[in-house]
């Protein structure tokens, strides 16, 4: 594997872990999948209970080191200079693309575009493919669990192009209603967008089944928002593409990489036929006085000086997660989510939203009767517990749940049962405070 993977980051399986002295309860509990010591922010504050990894993940030391190493040793503008340092930066950038492509299961690395994140990826697909192919009378389909990054982008494209915007509803337990989707998708459908995993509910959607459903009924492109997928599940894009997926987007900062970098993967034939969406340096082949021709993939879609350092940092995060094994990541999260769901649901007045633990990634969204999510988040914060309170950039979903906001706890590789304890204790403390009158 890659030189960026520190052996320290690959912990022994829990069953092999030596038991040191301590309480029986502590010895029996599975700990973190990757030690908190490997995440400088968590290591600096052992009392911090960070339960907002679905918003952004804490960064492993290996990622911070990769960023610093790039700037300290290889920094130059790539694709430009004839001098060796620029060549080194160019090679680091190309290698980062290859490493991220390997992590996402993309065989053709040039079909992986570096973008700022999932939001920019969605805007790229809508702004390039969408503007070229969606017109009056066409239909664009999203789901009621789409993040605003997808929902609003496709809604606005539909408005701008005079197309009909359709929303696939959810089942009572927070899954995409496949019967409704089958009824919505037809010959006029040009785009179907949905999340791999719901950021607000944690629901893992059956991507290949949905893609096959769309393929049977239309020639629409299938766009998957993978912001919450890539941190928890092996994406295997080429297998998704074989089932009918056309585009897959994800954000680096949610897989432990830096903020400001992400990836959009697309089918080569689509990307080659699409017009550029931003103009500038690097993306051109030849600029004449009255016309310009475009560079090849991936450069056609990467105008301007690329974000090499963050690409290198993202590659380090991908190497780390790939070596760890996403099956282990998901199993770890589901164990914690199962504990949290069971213990929260056992409290009077607590409603857990969404499907059962085995259909989720590491997210638990819930409401506490009589305690607003913002109040809950403030009370938990005073106990060192960071949760998200709000609409999670999913206001259409909140309306369907009949709430304006929920509380959301989310887990990742460094989470451990003490996080669940702190969450449940904090919820009970909030209930005592608000019931006390």
């Amino acid at each position: 594997m890659s030189t960026f993977v520190s052996p320290d980051l690959l912990p022994a399986l829990p069953a092999d872990a030596p038991r040191t002295a301590g309480s029986a309860a502590a010895a029996d509990a599975p700990g973190a999948l990757v030690a908190r010591a490997e995440f400088p922010l968590l290591a600096a504050d052992p009392t911090l209970r960070y339960l907002d990894s679905a918003a952004t993940a804490q960064k492993p030391r290996a990622v911070l080191d990769a960023l610093a190493d790039y700037y300290a040793r290889e920094n130059a503008n790539p694709h430009r200079g004839a001098y060796r340092l620029s060549v080194a930066a160019t090679e680091a950038y190309a290698a980062a693309r290859a490493r991220v492509a390997r992590f996402l299961g993309v065989g053709d690395a040039d079909t992986l575009l570096f973008v700022r994140g999932t939001t920019e990826a969605m805007n790229l697909v809508a702004g390039s493919w969408g503007r070229a192919h969606v017109g009056a009378g066409d239909e664009v389909v999203v789901t009621a669990m789409d993040h605003h990054a997808s929902f609003v982008t496709w809604q606005q494209l539909a408005i701008a192009r005079g197309a009909t915007f359709r929303i696939c509803e959810l089942t009572a337990d927070g899954r995409i209603d496949l019967d409704h989707l089958a009824a919505l998708v037809g010959p006029r459908t040009r785009v179907v967008a949905f999340p791999h995993v719901s950021n607000a509910l944690g629901t893992v959607n059956p991507v290949r089944e949905i893609a096959a459903l769309v393929r049977e009924r239309s020639a629409a492109i299938v766009v998957v928002d993978g912001a919450q997928g890539a941190p928890h599940l092996a994406v295997e894009f080429d297998r998704l593409a074989a089932a009918g997926v056309d585009f897959y987007a994800c954000s680096g900062h949610k897989v432990g990489g830096p903020m400001g970098i992400g990836a959009l993967v697309g089918r080569r034939a689509l990307l080659e036929a699409m017009p550029p969406w931003q103009y500038g340096g690097d993306m051109i082949s030849l600029v004449e006085d009255q016309r310009t021709t475009w560079n090849v993939l991936p450069h056609k879609f990467e105008a301007g000086t690329p974000n090499v350092a963050d690409a290198v940092g993202l590659a380090a995060a991908c190497d780390l997660l790939g070596a760890l094994g996403l099956d282990r990541v998901l199993a770890h999260e589901r164990a914690l989510v199962g504990q949290a769901m069971a213990r929260l649901a056992a409290l009077d007045g607590v409603r857990v939203h969404g499907p059962s633990a085995e259909r989720r990634s590491g997210v638990v969204s819930f409401s506490v009767e009589g305690v607003h999510p913002h109040d809950l988040a403030t009370i938990l914060d005073e106990r060192g517990v960071c949760i998200r309170a709000g609409h999670h950039c999913a206001q259409p979903l909140m309306r369907r749940l009949g709430v304006s906001a929920t509380a959301r706890a989310s887990f990742w590789v460094y989470s451990d049962p003490a996080d669940v304890d702190a969450l449940v204790d904090g919820v009970q403390a909030a209930q005592r405070l608000f019931d006390g009158g």
């Binding site: 504050d45 607003h372 913002h374 403030t378 005073e382 206001q395 405070l433």
Partner: protein
């Protein structure tokens, strides 16, 4: 302007680590019994017939909503009521506002909006102002920057309502 006027509070924590041990004292400061009481039993909640000025505000972070309605008699506030939903801070703040407003002239109401806004941003002089009465219970919000907007939601609506009123002729008083 939320970073100033921290004097008088506990020593500022280093940037990026805004937390020492869990501070039950600070929590008690934000969730005083008076605030919880206004949250559980909001005063003046509901529609107001023959309002002279109305305004609504939404907190885009959480979708919390406050709609405020004020009726004047001459230049003096005769009644104020609110509708909406949200966290304890936003609802208690709206409830307290409606009580504090009755009997004030327009200029006095505008001055109170400014005074209250200063209070929840940590202004020490406002915190010592006994004329603010029970509104001072919300002073603890100043230590929770993420929650200041909750406290000011209704007051922001009031500011807008007063402005729309000023844009109209003074004869708009409902019965005066």
């Amino acid at each position: 302007m939320s970073e100033d006027a921290r004097d008088g509070g506990p020593a500022a924590a280093p940037r990026g680590v805004p937390r020492a041990a869990p501070s039950e004292a600070q929590l008690a400061a934000i969730y005083q019994e008076l605030i919880l009481d206004h949250y559980r039993r909001p005063r003046n909640k509901g529609a107001l017939a023959d309002a002279d000025a109305t305004a609504a505000r939404t907190n885009p972070l959480c979708g919390d909503e406050i709609a405020l309605a004020v009726a004047f008699e001459g230049d003096v506030v005769r009644a104020a009521r609110f509708t909406g939903r949200g966290c304890s801070i936003s609802q208690a703040s709206a409830s307290m506002l409606t009580g504090a407003l009755v009997g004030l002239t327009r200029p006095e109401a505008e001055a109170l909006v400014r005074r209250f806004t200063a209070l929840v941003h940590g202004d020490a002089e406002a915190a010592a102002d006994a004329s603010l009465g029970e509104l001072r219970a919300l002073q603890g919000v100043s230590r929770f920057p993420a929650r200041i907007r909750c406290a000011t939601l209704a007051w922001s609506a009031l500011g807008e309502a007063l402005q729309t009123l000023q844009a109209r002729p003074a004869a708009s008083g409902s019965s005066g």
